[in-house]
């Protein structure tokens, strides 16, 4: 009897001491760290190390043979970023990425709302529809668009047939935006859906009860409450659009070079690795800064 009681008493004493609590917390933290260790390793090996290499290369020198000398450190590559051509490509990329994001938002929001307000069964079926395109390779899907938009493709044929005149779609900015919207729309819809689905429907009813019409209800209740989804979706749409390579390459042609293609050109054709590295690094820094600002701003309005 006493033998059983003794450890219990010990435990009680231990529980109240701050040392015991701290030890327990330490143990908890250690366990968490161990669980995350593979991820840390992965990030270090495949993200941090390559990033350091990129940064190092951006300060290196291109030699006459198109190789890179890891000596004669300079900031020439960064100075070169101010050239008009680079600026033009940069702004075109930002503009197309922004346009893509806005179009995705405008198309995706009503759809996500519709999705979030259906019965569970309908929702699941429709979510599968949203994700079906992922089952086919992205490259293949872009080539499919090339067929659709091509000069003898169904779209030109249709516009000709209904008397809208002859149009060329392929190798234009329109084609690029279309392809980007197509490619990244699911990334807009899914976070929006998740955010809208979480909102208590009675809040919308309450706003209607308090004299808000349908639009006011959207503007003052639904939209602000779904802001986390809008922000997440916009980021997931904008960032890959800004750095997109495959879609502009396949649907865009030569006249509409975007940042992604331009960077690839630096590495493969122009053999100017330091410049390509500098551009990659700056692009990433801008995206990171934009994301931080966006999240902060979003965080405040919520």
């Amino acid at each position: 009897m006493t033998a059983v009681e003794a450890p219990e008493a010990d435990e009680e004493v231990l529980e109240v001491t701050p040392e015991f609590e701290a030890a327990a917390e330490r143990q908890e933290r250690r366990r968490g760290f161990l669980l995350a260790l593979p991820e840390f390793g992965y990030l270090t090996l495949f993200f941090a190390v390559p990033l350091v290499i990129v940064v190092v290369y951006s300060f290196a020198t291109r030699n006459r043979f198109g190789g890179t000398d890891l000596s004669g450190w300079n900031v020439d590559s960064y100075v070169k970023l101010a050239e008009p051509l680079v600026r033009e490509i940069f702004f075109r990329s930002v503009w197309l990425a922004a346009l893509t994001t806005v179009i995705c938002l405008v198309i995706g929001y009503p759809f996500a709302y519709y999705l979030a307000t259906r019965s569970l069964r309908v929702r699941n079926v429709m979510l599968v529809f949203v994700m079906i395109p992922f089952w086919t390779n992205f490259l293949v899907r872009n080539y499919a668009w090339r067929v659709i938009l091509g000069n003898d493709g169904p779209l030109t044929k249709t516009t000709e047939f209904v008397g809208l005149g002859e149009h060329e779609y392929l190798f234009t900015q329109t084609a690029v935006v279309l392809g980007l919207v197509y490619g990244f729309l699911p990334f807009m819809i899914l976070p929006l859906y998740a955010a809208i689905e979480r909102i208590d429907r009675r809040l919308l009813e309450a706003s209607r009860d308090l004299y808000a019409n349908g639009f006011q209800s959207f503007r003052h209740v639904l939209l602000p409450l779904s802001m986390p989804g809008v922000i997440a979706g916009s980021i997931l749409c904008f960032i890959p659009s800004l750095g997109a390579y495959v879609t502009p390459e396949i649907l865009g042609g030569a006249k509409t070079t975007l940042l992604g293609s331009y960077i690839v050109t630096q590495f493969l054709t122009a053999r100017n690795w330091p410049f390509g590295a500098a551009m990659s690094f700056v692009l990433m820094a801008i995206m990171l800064a934009a994301t931080v600002v966006y999240f902060r701003k979003g965080g405040r309005t919520l």
Binding site: R202, L203, D209, L210, A212
Partner: protein, 353 residues
């Protein structure tokens, strides 16, 4: 002067399910009106139809004489206090309360001023900048009330307004709601499944079950003269003694005993005699005061409630509950004692299905 709310043959179907079944209901201006019933009885659907959050499948719904059947909620002169309040989590208290006025294009400054005043009325002055999530249930309840009342609705609708509060706070808010309603002089229509709450607060109660309106009457009438078995059972506690009508003054109980029970029902009708536990008394076996009706039984169990004791009395064919107030000098029967239960004939009511 037309009624505040008038429902005529209102039916609401969700697919194959009939939520509200052809109910007629008139709620007068200035009335504290309760829609009472178990969950799923259609009371909330009825309230939502008055608010405009659901539209009736059939029937006519008038608010102060105007047909509003399919008018959206923002075009109706009513406001709602939602179950669990549905306060906007992204706005502070002031903006929550001012919301309705802002939407109905009252100037921002004016809306805020009115909101501040209403916040003071519900005793939340000083908490204007708080977010609803930083407030207690009772405070949130007051914000919800202020948010609805600031719009000066002609009818205030309340959906289980006190359901989420603990007992003490609930009792406090009951009094406060009643006081507010009397001050404002508008009708409050509130939905509840809590019969005690309905009895305490309402001028009139509508008892609903399975989409039907069973009885609309004052609390006294509902309690004293329930129209059927369901109402008798749902409102307060009661003993239902099964029997058949022998004549207009007598019911023959299941065990063959005859009890005085005046009713309008035809001879042979299956009825139940409803006897409230507090209207019956425990006597020594055979010691029945003149004029009272009685049955014999054995004390089975005693539940001590502090202010009263509830006796479960075993009869030949059923168990009855009798409640005796806990007065000093009260004689307490032990389980197993042979006793008689007696009551004044006026204490019972005869109910059918």
């Amino acid at each position: 002067m037309s009624a505040a709310v008038e429902l005529t043959a209102i039916t609401k179907r969700f697919g194959d399910v009939v939520a509200v079944d052809a109910i007629d209901l008139v709620i007068e201006d200035g009335e504290f009106f309760a829609l009472l019933g178990p969950s799923g009885c259609g009371k909330t659907t009825t309230l939502r139809m008055i608010a405009g959050l659901d539209f009736p499948t059939e029937g006519s719904l008038k608010i102060f004489g105007d047909e509003v059947g399919t008018l959206p909620p923002n075009k109706r002169p009513v406001n709602t206090v939602f179950q669990n309040y549905a306060l906007f989590p992204h706005m502070n208290v002031l903006d929550n309360v001012a919301f309705g006025l802002k939407m109905s294009s009252v100037g921002k400054a004016e809306a805020r001023a009115a909101a501040r005043e209403m916040i003071t009325t519900v005793q939340l002055a000083g908490l204007e900048a708080r977010r609803p999530t930083q407030m207690s249930g009772g405070q949130q309840q007051r914000v919800a009330l202020a948010r609805a009342l600031v719009n000066r609705p002609k009818v205030l609708l309340l959906d289980e307004p006190l359901g989420a509060l603990d007992l003490k706070l609930r009792q406090e808010m009951q009094g406060e709601l009643k006081r507010l309603q009397e001050e404002l002089g508008i009708s409050f229509v509130f939905v509840t499944h809590d019969q005690e709450e309905a009895l305490t607060m309402s001028d009139r109660i509508a008892v609903m079950n399975e989409g039907r309106l069973l009885q609309v009457a004052t609390p006294e009438e509902i309690y004293e003269k329930p129209v059927n078995r369901f109402v008798a059972n749902f409102i307060g506690q009661t003993n239902l003694l099964e029997g058949t009508v022998e004549n207009h003054d007598t019911v023959c109980l299941a065990n063959g005993a005859r009890v005085a029970a005046p009713s309008e029902h035809a001879t042979g009708t299956a009825v139940a005699v409803s006897l409230r536990p507090e209207r019956a008394h425990i006597r020594d076996r055979g010691d029945i005061p003149p004029g009272e009706t009685s049955v014999d039984g054995i004390v089975e169990r005693i539940t001590y409630l502090g202010n009263a004791r509830v006796y479960d009395i075993r009869l030949d064919w059923m168990t009855m509950e009798v409640r005796e107030e806990n007065r000093p000098g009260m004689q307490v029967c032990e389980p197993g004692t042979d006793v008689s239960i007696s009551w004044d004939p006026s204490a019972i009511s005869v109910v059918t299905d």
